[in-house]
Symmetry: C2
C-alpha cells in the first residue's frame, strides 16, 4: 500500500518558547503542484524558509534538533521510532514541484521568493483553537497575502469558537489589522460544524472531519470551559485517514465519554485499522506532573489509556500494531532531561505493560516530513 499523506511538521512544541509552536503542513502524496493546507499556524513562513534550507542538506536522522537540556542540540534519531517514515525537510514531491515552478519562472528567485511561492499555495488553514501558540504565525504572516509578486488568498477554517475568537479578538484592528473585513476578500474565515464532514476545496479527494474536544477550563473562571479540535483527514479514494489534534485533555474517567472518545468511536466504526495511517496527538507533560497541573492537557498515562480505549472499540488486540503515533505540543519546561525524551520513555514503558509495544511512538520534529 502506498502512502496517502505527506505531513511536514513546521513546529510542534507546546511553548513556552516562541517560534516553535504547532503547525502541520499537509498534502496528498504524489502531487505535482505546490498546494498544501495547514493544521494550526503556530509557526509559518520563517519555518518554511528554514525547512527549505534544510531540504538542501544531506543530513537526515542525524539532523540536529534544538533541545537546550543535556545538550543544546540532539540528533533527530533520538526522538523518532526507527521504523517511522521520517524525512528531513520537505517531501520529494514539493521539491520536484518547486524545481518545475522555478524552471518556468522568468525571474531569478531567491529563498524568500521560493518560500512565498510555497506560502501562496497554502490555501486553507484548519485551526484547532484560538490560543496564540496555534494561530500567531497565521496572523504575523498575513500581510504576505497581498505581496504584489505572490498574492495569495486564503481561507481559515475552524469550529465556531475558533472562528469567533479570531474575528472578535485577533483580526479586529486592535490586536492586528482587520484583514478579514478590509474589503479585499483575500482572507476569509469560515466556520465548520463538529462531526460534520467538510470537503477540502484544494484537495477534493479529501474529507475533513472536525471533532470538538475538551481543553480544560478558564484560568480566571473555572466554570468557563475551553475547547479545541481534533481533525480527521480522510482520502476518499483509498479510505486512508490521519488524525491531527490540537491541545486536548482526556475525557473524564467516569461518566459520559463525550469529547475525545467520539474520535475513537468514529475511527473504530468507519476506518479499518489498515487505513488508519497515523495519529498526531499532544502529550504536553510527563507523568510526574500531578493531573490537576495539566491544565487541559495529556500525560503519557492518559494517552496510553486513550489508545487502549481505541483498541477496545476496534475489538482487535493487534489493531494498533505498526500505527504511527506522533507526539506534539510537549511543554519545554525547566528540566534536567529534555521533556520529550521523558515522555517518549514513559510512553514506551507503558506500551510494553499494555501490550502496545508495536505502536510506533515518535516526537513531532520541526523541519521533518512524515509520509503516511
Amino acid at each position: 500500500m502506498s502512502p496517502s499523506f505527506e505531513v511536514t511538521i513546521l513546529g510542534a512544541s507546546g511553548g513556552p518558547l516562541e517560534g516553535t509552536t504547532q503547525c502541520f503542513m499537509v498534502r496528498p502524496t504524489r502531487l505535482d503542484t505546490l498546494a498544501s493546507i495547514c493544521v494550526d499556524a503556530g509557526v509559518g513562513l520563517r519555518q518554511i524558509i528554514h525547512t527549505l534550507l534544510d531540504s538542501k542538506g544531506t543530513l537526515d536522522a542525524e539532523a540536529q534538533i534544538e533541545s537546550f537540556y543535556e545538550n543544546d542540540f540532539e540528533p533527530a534519531s533520538s526522538f523518532v521510532h526507527p521504523e517511522a517514515p521520517y524525512k528531513l525537510g520537505f517531501s520529494e514531491s514539493i521539491l520536484h514541484s518547486l524545481k518545475k515552478a522555478m524552471g518556468e519562472s522568468k525571474e531569478n528567485l531567491n529563498t524568500m521568493d521560493v518560500a512565498l511561492q510555497l506560502f501562496q499555495n497554502l490555501k486553507e488553514y484548519y485551526v484547532t483553537h484560538p490560543h496564540l501558540d496555534h494561530t500567531n504565525a497565521l496572523v504575523i504572516n498575513s500581510p504576505s497575502i497581498y505581496d504584489p509578486r505572490f498574492p495569495s488568498n486564503k481561507t481559515v477554517y475552524g469550529l465556531p469558537f475558533s472562528v469567533e475568537g479570531l474575528k472578535k479578538h485577533i483580526f479586529n484592528d486592535v490586536s492586528w489589522p482587520n484583514l478579514i473585513e478590509d474589503g479585499t476578500g483575500m482572507l476569509e474565515v469560515e466556520a465548520l460544524k463538529s462531526e460534520s464532514s467538510h470537503d477540502c476545496k484544494i484537495f477534493p479527494q479529501w474529507n475533513i472531519l472536525p471533532f470538538k474536544v475538551s481543553h480544560g477550563v478558564g484560568a480566571s473562571d473555572v466554570l468557563d470551559h475551553i475547547y479545541s479540535t481534533v481533525y480527521l483527514l480522510r482520502d476518499r479514494k483509498s479510505n486512508d485517514c490521519i488524525v491531527i489534534g490540537g491541545d486536548v485533555e482526556r475525557d473524564p474517567k467516569t461518566g459520559n465519554k463525550i469529547y475525545l472518545d467520539k474520535v475513537w468511536q468514529y475511527l473504530a466504526s468507519n476506518i479499518p485499522p489498515k487505513n488508519l495511517k497515523g495519529i498526531f496527538i499532544e502529550c504536553s507533560s510527563p507523568n510526574s506532573s500531578d493531573d490537576e497541573h495539566l491544565y487541559g492537557h495529556m500525560s503519557p498515562n492518559h494517552l496510553i489509556q486513550e489508545l487502549s480505549r481505541l483498541r477496545g472499540l476496534y475489538n482487535n488486540p493487534n489493531c494498533l500494531d505498526g500505527l504511527n503515533i506522533i507526539i506534539t505540543h510537549t511543554k519545554m519546561i525547566s528540566s534536567n532531561i529534555d521533556p520529550r525524551f521523558i515522555i517518549l520513555r514513559q510512553l514506551r514503558e507503558l506500551a510494553k505493560v499494555t501490550f502496545m509495544e508495536k505502536v510506533l511512538f515518535s516526537i513531532a520534529l520541526p523541519g521533518f516530513t512524515v509520509v503516511l
Copy 2:
C-alpha cells in the same frame, strides 16, 4: 563619557516572518545583577537562548544574519555603521553576572535553566502597542512565570490602548489563558499616561516617558485611528537618554504636529545633544513604496524629514553628529535585494543631501547588543 545603556536586540523585523519581530532588552551599563526590562515582546525566551549560544562564539562583525535575498545569510557588518557600538551576543555585564549566578548555584544548569534565569530577571515589559508582532512572545512565554524552579512575577506597562488591548483581547481565556486574573498576582498590567514620567521599579535611576504616536488607521474602518508608543528612557544621574519607538508614522506635513513631534520637542527642550545617546526607530519600507501604501509606517524620506525637524528644534546644525539611529521594523517583503540594505542606502544618500552624513545609521540586528 562612559555609556549608560545596554540594549540587546532580540528581534527587530516588521514581519511577515514570525519569530523575528521587535523586542529590545534594556538595562543600565555596569550592572552586576541579571535585571533587565523589555521594550516590546515580539520575541523572547527562545531568542534569549539563541543570543546566549551566540555569546559563546567568537564571531562578531562577521556574524551571519538571516537575510534570504541575494544570499541566505549576510555578514552583520553590512548592516551596521562601522562606528556603531555593536557587539555580538549579550553584554559583558550580563555574561559576568550569569557566571556569578551559576557559580553560586548548587545545581548543574543547562541552557534552558540559564535562559530561564535571565527571563526570571526580566521584570518589566514596556509595550508600544497591542499588535501581535510586538506582544506575542510575552504571551507564549508567559507560562514560564510559574516555573517552579524559576518563578518570576512580571508587570506589563503600556499606554491605556495597549493595556486594554492585552486585557480585553489576549489574556481573556479565549486567545490565551487569563493569567492576569488567575488569582496568583504573578502577571500584572499597569497603564501609563502619555507624556507623564514613570519611575522604573527595578532601575530606580531611570525615568521612562511614553509618548502616544500615530500608527495609521483601521484596515476595516479608516475612521478608526490606531496608536502606538515611543518610549524615552532617561538616566537621572547622567541625564543620558535613549529613545525606543514602536511602529509609527510621521505627523502630517501640514497642520498640527501633535504626535511624533512631541518626542522631538521634548528632546530639544530637555536633553542636551550630548546626552541623546541613540534613537531606535522604525523605517518599515523603502522609498519605492507609495506613501498611501505605508499603512501607518515610515520610509527613509519620512525619517530624514523627522530628523531634520529634530535638528531644527535643537537649533544647532551639528547636534545630530555621531548620533546612533538604529532602524527597526523593516518589512521583509519580496525583493531582489534585502529591504534593509535598500533602506540603509537610501537613508545614507538622503543624509548626505541634508548635511546629516555624520549621523550613524545602522539596522537593528537580532542577537546583538548596542552599548550607548
